[in-house]
Symmetry: C2
Subunit: 153 residues, 2 copies
């Protein structure tokens, strides 16, 4: 199904909520209440997003999280990367630098997986949090072209 983990799904929900007020400072509990996602889970997600520098945190009482950049600069690819590690559809394309693949003739097509990964990555990199908000408000996102040949440069 080419599945994305639920945590990533929640992360987008959480970020979309936060992006409604770009400079707002939100506590984990506050976000949990607003989104309906369980508090410990929200907390876990926020920590991951913090580690990936998508968010900035303030500790202590009256602390919370805020977006580290504008919604236009937060891409879906970076959110996925934050929660699931580098985007790579197959094991091979991420780990085949040092050890060779165990398939006899399989990895001849390693280059192809690179192509597929890049294609998907570019698609996800082209969508930002801002687009998400825009979509919620029923307007059209900007035009983006992705020439496949560019992946080879």
């Amino acid at each position: 199904m080419l599945r994305l983990s639920k945590l990533t799904d929640y992360a987008i929900v959480v970020l979309t909520y936060m992006a409604k007020n770009q400079d707002g400072l939100y506590s984990a509990i506050e976000i949990a209440k607003a989104t309906g996602v369980a508090p410990p889970t929200v907390s876990k997600i926020l920590k991951e997003l913090l580690k990936a520098k998508v968010l900035i945190s303030t500790r202590g009482a009256k602390g919370g999280y805020r977006l580290a950049k504008t919604a236009e600069k937060i891409t879906v690819a970076s959110v996925i990367g934050a929660l699931e590690g580098p985007i790579a559809l197959t094991e091979c394309s991420v780990s085949n630098h040092n050890h060779s693949c165990e398939q006899v003739s399989g990895c001849e097509i390693g280059g192809v997986w690179g192509l597929i990964n890049q294609t998907v990555f570019n698609a996800l990199e082209a969508i930002t949090l801002a687009d998400m908000l825009v979509s919620v408000n029923r307007r059209s996102p900007q035009e983006i072209n992705i020439p496949i040949s560019s992946l080879y440069r």
Copy 2:
């Protein structure tokens, strides 16, 4: 990590092997030997691809599998769809037609997941088995542009 299952990975390996001789008739055992993937696993994959009409089978002695269409017409998206079901990054976008989402405010962004899914799907639909072969042979695939606005039509 936006992972693709290993079975899908193997499926591409298997199909790429079969595409080298477009009209060839291959038995599961033969493919297993050539690719290094375990025979029962190859068999499982071939059955799935058959169900999805990517392959045609001939039963009985001297039987086997062959490609149902030319390599140019077999897209990566269809192969993924065959092994993992419809391409949908999140639960919501595939099942939200009848029951509403349990998140309080989450599914406002349902339309956005649709956008993301479509973008990824288009990217994968644009790559064919023929591109895989071409890539193995170190040539460039054709130029393809994917305007995001088209996803809204």
